[in-house]
């Protein structure tokens, strides 16, 4: 199967309009799947294309980089909630999915979602999805809790952490107060709930690296986290388990896109196809990956793998509320509430 796949890819590469060995420039978060050495080496052997990376530290930075550096990128990772905005601004090129062999494995929920399509054209290939919820230190918890209330449990006062991010904090607060994350009706309840959480908090975390260091140093019992990162932390040997509590969790979808100004669109499509290939995903998952948006890839995982065992469980998946775009005014409002809460400490 592998050789057949490689053959087809190289055939694709040969048929590509003369440009045999392109340099594909990828814009993504650092250490997020596209920049794995072994995968890039195999991709180069298969297609002749080399891949170079540039990184961003926030979604706003990603958008700004696309706006200000036309032609500089060929593949950009876009969180699906930013897809409509980027498409509307004309930053993205429609993608010819018939050229993507592995696209058929992506279920319609993702592939045909309003977030990544516009007027019948596909502007983003769903790549990975995951859940924002919390993870616990398994040396402290036995059994593992099934409720978000554990963050507010006085028994863990001063040993809790959440990410320093206004939207994420507000959405966690919405879940804890039984509200929908995309349409928070009772902001005061969320605010009061977060206010009660503050004294529990040891420190805020910003990056996965922060999280791992604090967890390894024994600073946290329980902290909000991302499912893919939790898998990576566990693979590193940290005693952590990710929880999708009964109150629900925040779901997000990341897509791979091709900027309208890209000069290597065919090579970019090949790289995207490579990224949604089940074979690549299974190897990536062994190192700790978010859930694949390609159902074929998820099915190829070992049954014990977190991304199949937990996130593949329809009952768990039903509890996940997927994020929709947050408009600027709401974002600003959340930010003000969050900053006021932090400043009051």
């Amino acid at each position: 199967m592998k050789s057949a796949f490689l053959l087809s890819l190289s055939a694709l590469a040969l048929s590509a309009s003369g440009a045999l060995a392109d340099e594909i420039r990828v814009l993504n978060w650092q250490g997020y799947g596209t920049d794995l050495d072994w995968s890039l080496k195999a991709f180069e052997e298969a297609t002749g294309h080399t891949v170079v990376h540039e990184y961003f530290n926030s979604e706003q930075e990603m958008l700004t980089k696309m706006r200000t550096n036309p032609g500089a990128y060929d593949v950009v990772l876009v969180n699906a909630i930013y897809n409509p905005q980027a498409t509307e601004e004309g930053l993205l090129a429609p993608i010819d999915t018939s050229a993507l062999e592995n696209y058929a494995g992506i279920p319609a929920d993702f592939a045909e979602s309003d977030l990544v399509t516009e007027g019948g054209e596909v502007y983003g290939v769903p790549w990975t999805w995951g859940v924002t919820s919390f993870a616990v230190n398994t040396q402290v918890f036995d059994p593992v809790p099934d409720t978000l209330d554990v963050l507010w449990d006085p028994a863990h006062a001063g040993r809790v952490s959440i990410r320093d991010d206004a939207v994420e904090a507000m959405q966690i607060g919405a879940l804890a107060t039984g509200q929908g994350i995309n349409d928070i009706q009772d902001l005061d309840a969320v605010k009061a709930k977060l206010e009660a959480l503050m004294p529990q908090v040891r420190t805020f975390w910003g990056s996965e690296n922060d999280w791992n260091q604090y967890m390894a140093a024994g600073e946290f019992d329980v902290a909000t986290y991302w499912s893919g990162s939790a898998a990576r932390s566990a693979a590193m040997g940290l005693p952590v388990e990710f929880v999708v509590p009964k109150e629900g969790a925040i779901g997000w979808l990341d897509s791979l896109t091709i900027p309208a100004t890209s000069e290597h669109k065919e090579a970019a499509a090949q790289f995207i196809d490579w990224m949604i290939d089940p074979e690549f995903y299974v190897k990536w998952d062994a190192e700790g990956a978010p859930a694949s948006a390609n159902a074929d890839a998820a099915a190829a995982l070992d049954e014990t793998a977190f991304n199949r065992r937990v996130l593949g469980d329809p009952e768990v998946a039903a509890r996940v509320q997927f994020q929709t775009p947050v408009d600027d005014d709401t974002r600003q409002q959340y930010l003000e509430i969050w900053q006021a809460l932090k400043a009051a400490q």
Binding site: N57, S58, Q60, E61, L63, T64, R67, T68, D164, D165, M198, V201, R202, T203, F204, A217, G218, E219, L335, E336, Q339, A340, K342, A343, A344, Q345
Partner: protein, 287 residues
Amino acid sequence: MAELVTPAERRRLFTLLSPAYLWLLVAVFLPLSAMLFFSFLTDMPQDAPDWGVTLGNYAEFLTNPTYSTLLAKSLKLAVTVTFFCVLIGYPCALVLAKSIKGRSREALFLMVILPFWSNSLVRIFSWAIVLRGNGVLERAINFVLPFDVRLNLMFTTDAVVIGLVHSYLPYVILTLYLALQAVDDDLIDAARSMGASKLTILRRILLPLSLPGLLAGAVLVFVPVVGSFMEPRILGGRMGTYYGTVIEDQFVAVYNWPLGAALSFILLAVVIVILAAASPVLKRAQT
């Protein structure tokens, strides 16, 4: 003085000064003016084609109480850190300037300057290792003392103060050392011969004569600490939200450069007002 220089001298002055002023123009004045310009915008021009000019970013500071609360918090932090820097630095500088001579002074000086040679981020992270629960400090204390001690200093305001005092102490010691060394030893001898106690010598001779150095050191500490963001973020935990960290957020996390720039200029204005208010004292100290 300008009238006294001949054309030839003026030319020489011009050649000698222009590299420095050119550098200041490029490295300080231009970026700062760009920031000042940004602070009056509704959006960054590359982000929104429909950007306009507004005073809204400055109005935001006045209407949202969060910012003034944080500015007050940062000013308080700066006063605390400056106080401890002077409290610790003065005796140290006094001993260096007046009691120790020769090679041992050089060795002690080296120890004072040593922190300058390491990266500030490295210094703060080493403090994190020392201060955290079951960290180096707690283990050392528990090794010496028979009973169990839990300091729990990490992620508190105290940790921020400790880290900042350590970072900025050398400024105070160096400026004070220079000021104290300039005090004539004969003055002290004369006072002593007339029966002045050590405290009187300190109060009536050393303190007034070293006041310029003391104030210069205090300003060198106070100004950067008001805007500090890295130390509070790493050592302060949930207590570590200050005016500087909110400005950093605007640039790094939220991408609201205009607001970040406006907040920075408000900080600059507040610092200038404080320094202007203190200038009569500074002037008196210099004469």
